[in-house]
Symmetry: C2
Subunit: 242 residues, 2 copies
DNA sequence: CACTTGAAGATTGTATACAATTAATGTATA
DNA sequence: TATACATTAATTGTATACAATCTTCAAGTG
């Protein structure tokens, strides 16, 4: 399950330079999960990963804990760490929380944003069209996230920005985990345009409504391959093991 | 600075039983920070703490990382971990985010709460009067937090509940860190009654307004002993060292 | 046959030793 | 005197060894 983590002794050494081993392990694991080299529910065995990455268990262990605190992994004491398997309910709940944060962000953005920031946002949204034209699907999600991050940044509330970053990372992983072919038959450009229009017009109510609508429809497109029983794994709670 | 962490060899061994060393260190450190045995801005030296707690550096290090992920500590790579010194701005931003989460929570609570849960909430609020009559100040904050947690629980959204728990813990620490005598000349009973009334009447708009008002006035009572320059320490950002 | 029981192996949790980095101190030099 | 540099001490980061715990699976028991 965890064999697909790349391993090229020399190159890895290079990548590792100027980074702590823990940071290195963290990045590798995170991208391995996001790119689904490690599938949902699979166990992260410390010794195996340490060997594959060419470092010791200590930084690997540390990296796994960090991934847990970010909600990408569940740790069961004395039993091991597993990539999350979110339930339908968890996904919906997460998007609901995300909506609360992001709709506040866009309201604040209307108050605080500078013209430069609005222009930058426009630019990122434009890039979305271009990416889809080129069918460069691997660039799609980063750019989509950049749109939401930009809005959070415009709120001029650092704490809010950090919280949005976290939950954005988590919720976009949900989409990835359950999308078997990175199909993306869901194109939110119209919704992004609505967001932008309301923001530019400084219409708070419309902006909030557009954000809530956008995130609600995002949730709907999560493809839950096999319905997971509701009590299967609960985020951050140490229950039974898969 | 970190000398006041208690150390009674035998008792500690007992407390430690049935818990991992890391959990033990985490709890000890957390309460030491909350009770201000370790003051804000002070450095957490791994070897010292390990000796004081009678365990090795490994679990101490791990516990510190956990505290960082919860926002009670800042870690500067290769330099050490420090108890947070939040700026006025950070505090206000945090309360603003908290308001977004909790006002959503109370709206959902109006939809979902059972009569039993409402009765339980009433009970916790009543206990507040009783605690203040007895002047049992050490019971005050836990009970106050219990009120907010109960409302979050009533939302029937586990993800939201966890996020509220986190930010509640963080923001109540802010109050503690800057309140030199645990004076508590601020009595939010009237505000809690407003929350309850709106909840019971199932009036969403009033409930949201009451929550926002309540948290806004809480912020105002944070006593920032010495104004910290705005760029002093930024939460979660690795900048210069105190 | 279902259900315990009990080693043996695998994996996590902790301690400790060593390496790398930073902070502190003292000395030389302009 | 102030500044730059070098040396030393202190602290963090990583590797490895050992201990505790869980999982597995086979043998025994009702």
């Amino acid at each position: 399950m965890t064999k697909n983590v790349e391993k090229h002794d020399k190159e890895q050494q290079k990548e590792k330079e100027n980074r702590s081993s823990e940071e290195f392990a963290y990045q590798k694991l995170k991208t391995a999960i996001r790119k689904r080299y490690i599938t949902r529910g699979s166990k992260l065995v410390e010794t195996t990963l340490a060997e594959e990455l060419g470092i010791s268990r200590t930084p690997v262990r540390s990296a796994i804990k960090r991934l847990e605190s970010e909600g990408l992994v569940n740790i069961f004491p004395n039993r091991g760490a597993f990539v999350i398997t979110p339930t339908r309910r968890e996904i919906e709940e997460t998007f609901q929380v995300r909506a609360a944060l992001e709709s506040m962000a866009i309201e604040l953005a209307i108050e605080k944003a500078s013209d430069e920031q609005i222009a930058e946002l426009r630019h990122i949204i434009n890039r979305e069209y271009e990416i889809l034209e080129r069918k460069a699907m691997n660039e799609y999600w980063p750019n989509n996230n950049a749109i939401h991050l930009k809005i959070a940044e415009m709120s001029d509330n650092r704490v809010l920005f950090l919280r949005v970053s976290e939950i954005l990372e988590q919720s976009s992983l949900y989409l990835v985990l359950y999308d078997p072919f990175s199909r993306l038959d869901y194109c939110p450009m119209a919704e992004h345009e609505k967001l932008f229009a309301a923001l530019k017009a400084k219409n708070k109510a419309a902006a909030r409504a557009a954000m809530e609508e956008h995130l609600k429809s995002s949730t709907a497109y999560v493809y839950v391959a096999e319905e997971v029983p509701e009590d299967y794994i609960s985020l951050h709670s140490k229950m039974e093991n898969p």
